[in-house]
Amino acid sequence: MATENHLLDPRHWVKAHADYLYAYTLSRINNEEQAKDLVQETFLAALEKADGFEGKSSERTWLTAILKNKIVDVYRKKSSGLGNTAEKKAEDEQQDFFDAYTGHWNDAYKPLPFGMEDHDPFVSKEFNQILQKCLQKLPGLWMSVFMMKHMDDAATEFICNELKVSQANFWVIIHRAKLNLRACLQKNWI
């Protein structure tokens, strides 16, 4: 099925990679059913593409690349259509963060210490759970852009292309997503 150094062995995919791919998906899309579906779709798509496998990357890397595309598809769907109302609402809320004239923090929203800026490993587990909830609360497009950038370290151009946002809008979204996340953490953590 393949040449060079890497070979595909579909009969061992489940044993060797299913849990990895599942965890990979779940950390990006916090929905177990959807994550299962994506893992299954990945294997089936991989079977069909197996002839095109050139053995240049490892089996796992190759499977992960297929999965990644599928996750981007999910992000893309989330960020179009229905998501727009969520963005509008979140944008409106952020109007209150800063003074409309000067751009200075309004008192009610100014940053307060989390008490863990210096990274206390003891609190990080609980903090992580809140972080995950706050991530899921972001409007679809914001979450997609934020996750692709900060989890996958995808190139900015790639994200802009895939999600159809301009460069200028990209920075606005990164800004808004971070403002919202931080505010959500402050509200739920302190």
């Binding site: 009969r11 950390s27 079977l47 751009g103 940053p111 800026e117 992580n128 900015t156 971070k178």
Partner: protein, 92 residues
């Protein structure tokens, strides 16, 4: 307000630049603007720190999920998956 005061007051702009800086290099002008602002604004200094913490935590969230304590698929689902794959293989 003179130009200097405008920079000092504009936390909205400063927080945008903080986010940008964590991803790419700022232009000279942006870098100076941010530096001036941060020198005079303890709130944005805190925001800057927290923004870094959030980035670190997001990375960690991902790496944690890749460790042994990571969520696993149940055996029934795996069996099903295995069958689907065998089916696919036999078709070819």
């Amino acid at each position: 307000m003179n130009h200097f005061e405008k920079i000092l007051n504009n936390c909205k702009q400063a927080t945008l630049l903080i986010g940008k800086k964590q991803i790419k290099n700022l232009s000279f002008r942006e870098a100076i603007t941010l530096r001036i602002h941060l020198a005079g604004c303890s709130m944005c200094k805190l925001y800057n720190k927290q923004s870094h913490v959030i980035n670190t935590m997001v990375h960690q969230l991902f790496h944690d999920s890749m460790q042994s304590s990571a969520p696993k698929l149940d055996d029934d689902f795996k069996k099903e998956l295995q069958e689907r794959i065998e089916e696919g293989l036999n078709k070819n």
